[in-house]
Symmetry: C2
Subunit: 150 residues, 2 copies
């Protein structure tokens, strides 16, 4: 008989996190890719500007945990769709202030309810106690993962 394996992948937290993230991303992307042909970085920029109203590329990267090159390319692509516009800061000409155009805001408003519905549908399928446990435990995990010494 084979001895108990020292590491079971399916019980290993980093693997489980990756797997759950990949599954939910794949499910969610069907919405924004199917409806608008957006990529993940583009969706995140849209979501950030929808939330913050106006932001620089650096601020978008910080808020959405994306590298500046990813932000730069997603912004360029959304600008090509005329979903956002740029305004050079007159006091510091290195920066550009970005905001959604009317078309961008319209897409955002159409997209958000479907994104939230996905989240609600996932949470609604869980027992109330499991849902509360998830939200509590996951918040604690985030604090650990984000703590600086790590």
């Amino acid at each position: 008989m084979r001895e108990q394996p020292p590491l079971r992948l399916e019980a290993f937290l980093p693997y489980r996190l990756n797997r759950a993230a990949a599954l939910s991303s794949a499910q969610l992307s069907r919405i924004y890719r199917g409806a608008f042909g957006l990529t993940i970085p583009e969706w995140r920029v849209l979501a950030t500007l929808g939330q913050l109203g106006e932001a620089t590329a650096t601020a978008i990267g910080r808020h959405s945990s994306m590298h500046k090159t990813k932000v730069s390319r997603a912004v360029a692509s959304l600008q090509e769709r005329r979903w956002l516009d740029r305004r050079r800061d007159p006091d510091d000409r290195r920066m550009e202030h970005l905001r959604l155009t009317t078309a961008g805001r319209s897409a955002y408003r159409r997209l958000v309810p479907r994104m939230l519905a996905y989240q609600e549908q996932v949470l609604a399928h869980m027992a109330a106690a499991d849902r509360e446990a998830l939200l509590r435990g996951f918040a604690a995990l985030e604090r650990i993962l984000e703590s600086p010494e790590r």
Copy 2:
């Protein structure tokens, strides 16, 4: 005053899952990349073969949630290190049975305690109730995400 934004990214579950997964992956990869120069796919193949003892490439892909091309290339790379060997199945010559060599098993044995230590260190920093909540809630979430209709 700006109205309450309809979707706060930092509270949106798929985004939080992706972020937590990326953080833990980055932290964990310091171990296997720093010690052995492994990539994530290589580590997953190693972990799968360490756990299962012997498997085909298809079985590795299924067990580690990786696409067959990723598995194929990771297997080729580990074979080049002489960390695994292949044995063609005599009854079905399409398949190859893969297992770790002595060198591969030795690397696995050195790596696993450090991987588990990382997980333990993360969990140990959480309050017991938070830890229990995480494990309970996350397991429930996995069941939902993996359920077929989604």
